[in-house]
Amino acid sequence: MTVQANDPPMTVAEKPASLRPMLEWIARRTEPVVIGLSAILIGLGLFSLFILMIGKSPAMLFQLMYTGGFGSWFSVQNSLSRAAPLLLTALCVALPARLGLVIIGGEGAVVLGGVAAAAMAMPLVGTVPALPSLVLMAIAAMVVGGGWIGLAGFLRHYRGVNETISSLLLSYIAIALMNQFVEGPLRDPASLNKPSTKPLPADHMLGNIPGMDVHWGLAIGILACILSWVLIEVTSYGFAARVAGGNVRAAQIQGLPVGRLIAGFTAIAGSFAGLAGMIEVVAVQGSANASLAAGYGYTGILVAFLARHNPLAIIPVAILLGGIDASGGLIQRRMGLPDATVLVLQGTLFIVILFCETFYGRFKIFNPDLWKRSY
């Protein structure tokens, strides 16, 4: 609050009122934090009941989860590495969500992005230096991924095809295409049991961030989240998208180019998922193969919804889920629980957090518009 020079001097009675804007701001900002954290606690509570029911100790499980995910520098680095693709696949859900679209086919863009990067590498390795090759591979992955998800957005606006179903179908088609390419024209004859493309030479791999055992994918993912946040919250395109997401008719009457916004946002979203596939190839696998369809696209949906489609909130949520993911192995070894334990926990958290959406706006304390009537 800035006090202007010509303001009348404050009286005692007005003083509490001057605090109100700040209190309102705090109240509105606390609501998602309080409800979100409560939801996570309830989810963990329900999961504890499940663990108790099968006769194991939830306390030990959570202890191991902390140790495996964040207990040491080694496990933190492991969690961060696993968070890297989730940041990008979550953006693939969060950006279209601002326009009111539910895209669930990010997996397809990841897979095709990886294949595109590997295909692009074939003529480049040995002829072009590493850095420009990596840039070209990233561009190829982003173009293919963007086209794939952008197609779902395009069909939604210009043909009225439901984007949830079409992106899902496209995702299955993408996996079939990957199998065809990896088994057929792009197959490295040396890969026997596990068909793959030709492995990349070490200098064409994406290295680690200096001082850490985490590849550059993490930095790229965080940068993408920040850029997306700027796109949505700062630019006029983001504002137009939010208007169109709120009410398409109103946006059209205002003369906003809804069709181009939808096609553009879905294409950007898809290009991020494609980039995730490229990073998986150049930083983890070293070649494109069936491991690309490891479910990052589906976990990304979870991350985006947990972050309430806020690109900055995606960063901590992805790291948290990366940590849960990373601790899976430790839980498996120490407690004799199956690796699906992590899936059960993720599913439980996801359901409870989505359910808690219903509590937004219900509590008077978070809604300054209702304060007057409260006393």
Partner: protein
């Protein structure tokens, strides 16, 4: 080619056999989803229900040595999954599509978790009826060896089609699906109807899972479903919320899925993996051809969030 005795005719026969063998889970999941969507709600979690149903059916069949008890147990768990989904979705501001994805993940996780110990033992299979007894050709006999659940699914499709149009329950379901307000005006509780419709949809989807683990491929493992539950949701739109359409679409999907292996068996291996995409490409093309940006799909329930 000579030894088989039927040569090139093996391809359509293999497609027919494949259609009958592969379509049963599609029939049950899509019929279940039709009931749910006709009540104005969408359940994307049926993939999880299907896989959990497969695990339950297999586990119960191993323990009791009766495949039919397995099917019943699967139906019960499917109904529970449906009830949970239906109860959560009745609250305001809860996104039913997202809850569906969450339920799918939860169902898959729980099925893999609890089913870990059932990968080894063999469960008794569901019976099938040899309609090919008249032929001396083994291919025809194999193709016409039709599982009981397929026949039940076909009967169910026709039964549902009749029930939607001619019974009081069918009318109530359609009213709730078309307009929540109209249903309330008629004194119907839309939340309760949707809850029951989601539960029924879940129990039917679980039968599809039971077919997978107890007949074809006939064992329990984590890769048992390759997205049949999710595909069935697309199939319902494809079939325009019509149960008989669902049955025919499921046969078409099954046939399209069998195209690749059938062509491979006569030596055509080019583009083998692309044939796996055939059902998905087919659905997408038909959706593009029949959708319109200005009106909702013909036959779509008015209260369905998917087509709004």
């Amino acid at each position: 080619m000579e030894e088989t005795g039927i040569g090139i005719w093996g391809v359509p026969l293999a497609i027919l056999a494949g259609a009958i063998r592969v379509s049963t889970p599609f029939i049950f999941v899509s019929l279940g989803e039709t009931i749910t969507e006709r009540s104005g709600r969408i359940n994307l979690g049926l993939e999880g229900t299907l896989v959990f149903g497969a695990m339950t059916a297999y586990a119960v069949a191993v323990m009791t040595n009766s495949p039919w008890l397995g099917v019943l147990a699967a139906m019960a768990t499917g109904a529970i999954f449906g009830l949970v989904h239906g109860w959560i979705c009745k609250w305001p501001k809860v996104n039913d599509i997202a809850i569906g994805i969450a339920m799918m993940q939860f169902g898959l996780g729980l099925a893999f978790f609890l089913g870990k110990s059932f990968i080894q033992p063999a469960a008794p299979h569901l019976p099938s009826i040899p309609f090919g007894f008249w032929s001396s050709l083994p291919q025809i006999q194999a193709a016409l060896n039709i599982n009981v659940l397929f026949i039940l699914g076909a009967l169910l499709a026709f039964g549902l089609w009749w029930a939607f149009g001619n019974t009081r329950v069918g009318l109530i379901l359609r009213v709730v699906g078309d307009s929540t307000d109209a249903a309330r005006a008629m004194g119907i509780n839309p939340d309760r109807v949707r809850l029951l419709a989601t539960a029924l949809g879940g129990s039917l989807a679980a039968i599809g899972g039971a077919y997978l683990s107890l007949y074809y491929p006939g064992s329990w493992n984590e890769g048992i479903s390759s997205g049949q539950g999710l595909m069935a949701v697309a199939l319902v739109i494809f079939a325009r919320w019509n149960p008989i359409g669902c049955f025919l679409a499921a046969l078409l999907f099954g046939g399209a899925g069998a195209l690749g292996p059938a062509l491979q068996s006569i030596g055509m291996t080019q583009g083998y993996y692309l044939f796996y995409a055939a059902p998905y490409v087919l659905t997408l093309i038909i959706m593009i051809a029949t959708s319109s940006p200005t009106r909702s799909l013909a036959g779509a329930p008015g209260a369905l969030s998917l087509t709004k």
